[in-house]
């Protein structure tokens, strides 16, 4: 049974990843639309950090 924090971390990761992909392609289609205001590198770092947090909070695969 996934913990509350794992569920949140997992959702943060998925939503951040989808957001990054959408923003990335939006900025390619209309240069500056996103990057004039948001640092996509920082968003990518956040995606990676939330991915790591998802793995660390996952206790379903642990050996008892």
């Amino acid at each position: 049974m996934p913990t509350f924090f794992h569920r949140i971390a997992h959702d943060v990761f998925v939503i951040a990843l989808v957001t990054f992909v959408v923003y990335f392609f939006a900025d390619i289609i209309k240069p500056g639309l996103v990057t004039n205001y948001i640092n996509l590198n920082a968003l990518l770092l956040f995606v990676i950090a939330s991915g790591i947090a998802t793995v660390l909070t996952n206790d379903t695969g642990s050996v008892e």
Binding site: I15, V22, L33, I38
Partner: protein, 195 residues
Amino acid sequence: MRIRYYKIVRLFLIVIPVVVFFWLVAQDVAFSGRLFMSYDFSHDSSFIKRPWPPGRFHDIEYDKTTRDYFQRMFVEPATFAVKLPRKFKSATVEVLYKKDASQSLRIGIRMDPKQWAWEIRDLEYVGEENGWMRGRIRFDDIRRAAFNDGRLQFILNAPGLFENKRKVALTEIRVVVEKDPITLHNFLPRLWRAL
């Protein structure tokens, strides 16, 4: 109880990037017809590129008492570019500066991307702001100006600056560009024209 919290948190997580995306689109389209940009020398701006060429300026300095970043120009002219998401009708440029009273300071906008053609006018002094002089100039019709690679180019012109060994210190450049606002009445015709 935790399931309820989880659903609320999840809703926020989904809504925030969607709202941010619509905000980004709104900034790009400029529904209000107005876009404000500024560059205060503390960090690079996405819209206003720092004055160029760098050899005509001292390094960026920081005043600890006023907490202002500023840069002193000792050779003129210098230019700065303003990146715009789309075309606008008019532009108002405001500069916060310090200079000798006898030194004139003018700002121009590039009219032809292939030639050294500028519409240059004197900066109108409009008052003081935090110990800096505030000058303003308005260009009523920038549709005729050179719009190259999504950028407008401006020139800072201070005749006799180098010859008289004077300096002009700049701490902030503000640009407001305006066009007709997008309303319910003109939205569809404008969208049709854009397509």
